[in-house]
Symmetry: C2
Subunit: 664 residues, 2 copies
């Protein structure tokens, strides 16, 4: 009967956890659908409105009507006035978003991936994943996207999805407090966030493995899988694009790739790597500048960015279009029903050259805009703008290849498709900025269904990765760099850490303030607490070097408070303090017994152990502090922060001091 | 200048590692291509031979010829004689493979995934990944596949690919000895093995993450990615199927799935779960039976299996065909150029029923054959046969759905495609037996390019996973169950381990044989070594309870030997032994100093810590032994094996004693 009880209890727990995941998935899917619909409507609103039904977007307003759509009313017939209204509405959208963020949820600004990653690995950031952040991020995101700023929605999607993964489980008592279950729900939420942003469930799960999780478990994988599936299913059932499929821009390439194209693919890969390095480096400088000089001018900055982006971008076809729309055009294979002007340049060398220049210009403009926009005080992601930059560059390369190898009747077998270059360019840039490999390949694959192009995509992403590894500034993709930049003491167990041939003693603190297990008085204790700033003190035996446990400052204060209350707030200064349980008969009743506040499970390392052992303990078991011993005697302690600072210091030797700001 | 040197040295290392990975990838690709070509030729050889060129297979022999192929000579014009020759050749192939395995490389028999998994996580199995295994596995595999046994090639592919990942790096001095680099190369090899077996590079990488690796690192991921890419690229360049693409059976479904199909998809998922549970359970019983009674009759067993399989399978269309060929037919959408007889049953209820029965019969036969064949003493995998069983069952369900919802002109929008059910059934069975989720979805996706069917595939695999989790026998997929069955002390850090509310003391050995740091004599030491069987002894201080280090039996013997040699083989029995470095002045020169053999870096845990902490130390840091302390005093020790036995014991309480053999 007892077994039945345990079984039932377990069953209820597991059912509850699935209910929570289902609710999470449905919520994320619904929010994503709402954001998609709203973004489209607001985006169309910049050019005009629907006369018949104000709330319809251009596509539905003109549903069924041919070429000329009468119901859709443009704001003005004057080109210049249209231009000014376009700019005005863009700036308004951006400003509202910025104001919302500042007023209600400052943590809703930015991408959020870095922070989610840290929270999943155990850092506590209050309010970062609360209700307000969720609401403001979901409202501000469509505004920002439709304002035309060069920012994407996938980073913020991860953030609001992680918010859902934080607030929903807390509605259930059982999941409110456990860190490990929270971490699983957050990971599952992040997976669902990417899944709905790109309509790519597998890509989402891979993102959660490759970027978010710090402790790979099959149960987390399975939860992410389930949550991403439910979210994508919900989004697909809502069917926001009314196309009957969840793939954002399905592409079918008629012919496969040819071996002679591989060198050109590699050029795209190199572009992706260079893009990643340049953009990350410049963006960090911009972010540092913003922190230093613009922190009080956040709204003004957003206004200026919107103004600049819409005013300049309006004149280039590829930068004016909404980014995913633009990519759809760029990815497409010419022929069949697709008759964009890009496809009418067969014979016309002049037009070809014009498009080439236009594409290169769009690439450069996009890169510049990404650098200055990413990180401003509105919800902003960097995935889609990077893909857009890669797509324009890739299409330009594609045009070049088409010119070198024109497709005539004679060599039909070796015709190249310039759309595939745009596709691969987008993959390269996305991989370059995020340092993700598998995720990018799968996302591109799921986005377009171009399953014949898996090997080229893998080649391009591989080249990008090699470039990034060899000449990058280190510390992984932009999310990881932001973590370093913000000085969060985060050690990613997935990454390789290079401490060369250093020894444990190189980053050890050997002057340790200890507390004796017995023999100290209350006065000594107060003195130590007042005079030293440390968070943890080792408790040592009478010999002064054998560690018996650790006690945290907070626990110590708690314990002292407890005793004060028991003794009517008066503790004589000479009361003896004791940190070990006394079994002796001469039990002094007035002794301050603090043994319950001592932590006996801490990690020790021998002073002659390799640095790798130390690293493994920190990364895999996650303590804040490791005690270094020499033959059982205390030699020193190493904090997690010391290790991080040490790594930063080594990095600085090799590279520029990009992650070290003035305040350090 | 020093920095330049370090830089150059590092550059050479990293270049070398890429060269190794490239060679590995190319080798694996070439072997896979050779196996593919050989398998096809041998398979065709069972029915006839090419008159014009003996070495051509049927397809190439008949290249360009219409319907009647004159050059292809069947063995006989008599049906019965053809049948007998078919059986004879099948048995011959199987027998040769079994003889090869027994004579040259017994470890080449079986699947190999379980063992590779253990080796990657640090177990040493001599010769399991050597040159002989590689050669014999590569030669025997095509023989076995074409013998028609119900076994697949992906498990063995992982094995030979891991062999390549073992032998190639050893040709380079630098990678010969390091365990961590070996583990990375093996993981990369396994990824490439699955990649070439299914022509699915991403699937291969995911397999290495989900199944093989026990310590997820981005650098390993990237190496697997690269190796799988090179291997698939090589295979595709060799172009063994002469179809110009690496996808084994590309399927294009014209229409998408409908929501009302979801319940039927779920039925397939349930089938997958049940299949996984039943087959795993029965197969383990068969394997136990084989170990007990058939270990001396391995060849005879294979002969009988081949005889039985070919004699029975010949009469059913779906079991006679080579499994991947059969799946290609089952997956296909009717219409267009595809005119298999399965597509001509539109109106004919009798024929439809006949096919239904035939498919169900094929499913049951396949399940039976898988159960008795998997694990016999030839190279054998279980992925493809499972998929084949799932495909026949799925197609049967598809026929049923078509009957319930016939596709007439009136409801064209809701037509179902029975081929998709076969496709999803294959996914379900594959997931059911392996317990892989993401990998299965991606493999199915890459195999067929059916990107519209991602969500249904995810649903099916999800249901399978739920069934498996709730009613399975525990311990994961068949590979993990084999590990448990073989009693390998392997704790997978990816898996959840359920130790309920047990305490550390429940699996702790509290009677510990210790050695005093000083004060013991040589006689005492020899006595302890002779009278106790332990592999490791704690060294304790004078108080008898403070652990100063651990010493391994092997190291101790080594140390004693060293001293014996130094002292001309004579050590007086009363010589004092010392395990700590003496700094005192009265250094006794005749003392046996063994301090260099003491290991000071070992892991300790407080007796009151949670079981989870213990588990984390074992799983993530991988020691063989953890010392349990109570306030710095030795309370007991826990070995990895104790923990595994404890888990097995708990499992046995809940389930049958399926993993506990008589010998335990």
């Amino acid at each position: 009967q007892d077994r039945l009880k345990t079984f039932t209890a377990k069953f209820v727990v597991s059912i509850q956890s699935w209910i929570v995941l289902t609710i999470m998935g449905v919520c994320i899917g619904l929010i994503a659908a709402a954001i998609n619909i709203l973004t489209e409507w607001l985006g169309n609103f910049k050019t005009g409105y629907c006369k018949t039904n104000f709330y319809l977007n251009q596509e539905f307003c003109c549903w069924g009507e041919e070429e000329d759509c009468e119901s859709w009313q443009r704001w003005s017939d004057h080109a210049i006035l249209r231009y000014l209204i376009f700019i005005f509405i863009s700036v308004t959208f951006g400003t509202i978003a910025a104001l919302l963020c500042r007023a209600y949820a400052p943590s809703a600004a930015g991408s959020g991936i870095s922070e989610v990653k840290c929270i999943v690995s155990g850092f506590v950031m209050d309010g970062f994943l609360g209700w307000w952040t969720l609401i403001i991020k979901s409202i501000a995101l469509p505004l920002v996207i439709s304002s035309g700023l060069s920012v994407g929605k996938e980073g913020p999607s991860v953030h609001y999805a992680a918010c859902v993964g934080n607030v929903i489980p807390k509605l259930f008592k059982r999941f409110g407090r456990s860190y490990s279950s929270l971490s699983q729900f957050l990971t599952a939420g992040s997976a669902a966030g990417v899944a709905v942003a790109f309509a790519s469930p597998i890509g989402g799960v891979l993102f959660s493995i490759e970027e978010i999780t710090s402790n790979f478990k099959l149960s987390t994988l399975w939860k992410s899988y389930y949550c991403a599936l439910v979210a994508t299913g919900t989004l697909s059932a809502m069917n926001p694009f009314r196309t009957g499929q969840i793939v954002m821009f399905e592409v079918k390439y008629e012919s496969s790739w040819k071996y002679f194209e591989i060198p050109f693919f590699m050029i795209l890969g190199v572009f992706g790597g260079v893009y990643g390095i340049v953009v990350a480096k410049l963006n960090i400088k911009v972010v540092a500048f913003r922190q230093k000089y613009l922190s009080n001018h956040a709204i003004r900055e957003v206004v200026l960015l919107c103004l600049f982006t819409s005013a300049i971008g309006y004149f280039n076809e590829f930068s004016r279009l909404e980014m995913s729309e633009g990519m759809q055009i760029l990815f497409h294979e010419c022929g069949g029903e697709f008759d964009h002007s890009l496809c009418k340049i067969e014979k016309n060398v002049g037009l070809r050259f014009k498009f080439f220049v236009s594409l290169i210009y769009a690439t450069l403009l996009r890169v510049f805009l990404v650098v200055i926009s990413y990180g401003c005080k509105v919800p902003c992601g960097i995935f889609v703008p990077s893909m857009a930059a890669g797509a324009t560059f890739g299409r330009a390369v594609g045009l070049l290849v088409e010119t070198l190898n024109p497709c005539t009747g004679a060599n039909e077998g070796t015709c190249t498709i310039s759309g595939t270059y745009a596709f691969l360019g987008a993959a390269a840039a996305l991989s370059g900025i995020t340092h993700l490999t598998l995720t990018v390949v799968v996302i591109m694959f799921e986005l377009t269904g171009a399953n014949r192009y898996i090997i080229p995509t893998m080649i391009v992403v591989g080249v990008t990765k090699i470039i990034n590894d060899k000449w990058g500034i280190g510390f992984g993709g932009i999310a990881d760099q932001m973590i370093k930049f913000n000085g969060i003491p985060f050690l990613d167990p997935k990454e390789e850490h290079d401490f060369e041939d250093h020894k444990i003693t190189d980053c050890m603190a050997d002057q340790v303030v200890t507390l004796p297990a017995t023999g100290a008085t209350y006065k000594d204790l107060e003195q130590v607490l007042a005079e030293t700033p440390f968070q943890t003190y080792p408790i040592v035996a009478e010999d002064g070097t054998t560690v018996l446990g650790l006690v945290k400052r907070t626990d110590l204060l708690l314990g002292l408070n407890h005793h004060k209350h028991k003794r009517n707030m008066v503790i004589p200064l000479d009361t003896p303090v004791c940190f070990v349980s006394q079994t002796r008969a001469d039990d002094e009743s007035d002794m301050l017994k603090l043994e319950t506040y001592v932590d006996h499970q801490y990690y020790r390392i021998n002073i002659n152990s390799s640095f790798n052992t130390l690293l493994n303990i920190f990364m895999k078991l996650g303590p804040k502090l490791v005690v270094v011993e020499d033959f059982g005697k205390l030699s020193g302690i190493i904090c997690r922060k010391d290790l991080i600072m040490f790594e930063l210091h080594l990095h600085q030797h090799k590279h520029e001091d990009i992650f070290v700001t003035d305040s350090d």
